[in-house]
Assembly symmetry: C3
Homo-oligomer: 141 residues x 3
């Protein structure tokens, strides 16, 4: 076999702050590529939404995550000079910095080597619903 | 030369919270592949243990890191709804989010381009010893 | 076309704590490689400076980021055992852990798929000016 590449754009509609599981959409796209061994990269094209790998079982985990980040990076206007787009603007940038903009996961035996409890989440940091763009890149054979 | 890929699974036995240096095991595996130029990816298959690149010299650095994360993400049951596996469960997920699940490092002249003081560490976030699985993927020529 | 690789070293002179935009230098190097589709990886060879993707518009964002990290990871000597290189030593390691040492971004139609507002920044965590080394690796066709 020969190494080859594929690119894909995913759009995720968010509904305000919170985590959206998009593991299934990535897994389906990878499966359809027919790659046995390779490397999948996920890129989030925003600075106020981010990626994270988290537990895909208990829903309470996602609620605790949102609450934790509200405390760690407070929406307190007195703390930030930058608020062009409102009080959630600067906290959104900081929460993005503390989590991930990119993830690369190996593919083995035709599927991503995620652990049993691992899922991909888009973490929306703005209050209002947004249309988010994710780029997938797969290289393999 | 032609681009080729290799995959490998590493098992790391942890002894409760703390950092385990596994740079040597990765470097040996990479050296044995005979790759001159390429990209090495490390994936951690867990949501309560993570990866980090840290200073490999002073042991006090690792102790300070563990202590810092105890303060930044406290094991305080009143803060979290999710505690299926005990008070260290939710803090483990959050500490994983704040550090890394994946790292990709270029290979040049047959070895990873780590800086002089850089080492790869597995950061265990659970109190009890665990058996952790890491996947290595190398692509190069 | 055939998949091929390129490596490059960038040196960034920092002027104490703060963020330095180096997106243009990466984009120029990528453009000169003549790669249509691929994956670009950036590696920072230090444990007291890091990488981040941030908004490239408002300068106030960078000031807020620096201020936020001073609060999140205080330069308080009483908190850390390790201070071989001064009070900014251990906070520099922790701030590096909380941000990124590596970023990998897909290349499509000859350029990186960065969002409109995304830029690459080197985040210097030491007080004194430093000479920082970044490695770029590009794989594509």
């Amino acid at each position: 076999m020969t190494l080859r590449q594929s690119l894909h754009r995913l759009t995720i509609e968010t509904r305000g702050k919170g985590l959206t599981d998009f593991t299934g959409r990535v897994a389906s796209w990878v499966a359809a590529r027919g790659i046995e061994t390779g490397l999948l990269t996920i890129w989030c094209r925003h600075t106020s939404a981010s990626l994270t790998v988290q537990e895909n079982a208990a829903p309470a985990v996602r609620e605790d995550i949102v609450r934790f980040f509200e405390t760690l990076v407070p929406e307190d206007p007195h703390r930030y000079a930058h608020d062009d787009e409102g009080p959630d603007d600067m906290p959104a940038h900081l929460r993005t910095m503390l989590t991930d903009t990119q993830l690369s996961v190996p593919v083995a035996e035709g599927q991503m080597v995620l652990g049993t409890w691992q899922g991909f989440y888009l973490f929306e940091h703005r209050r209002q619903p947004q249309r988010r763009e994710i780029v997938l890149h797969l290289l393999g054979e």
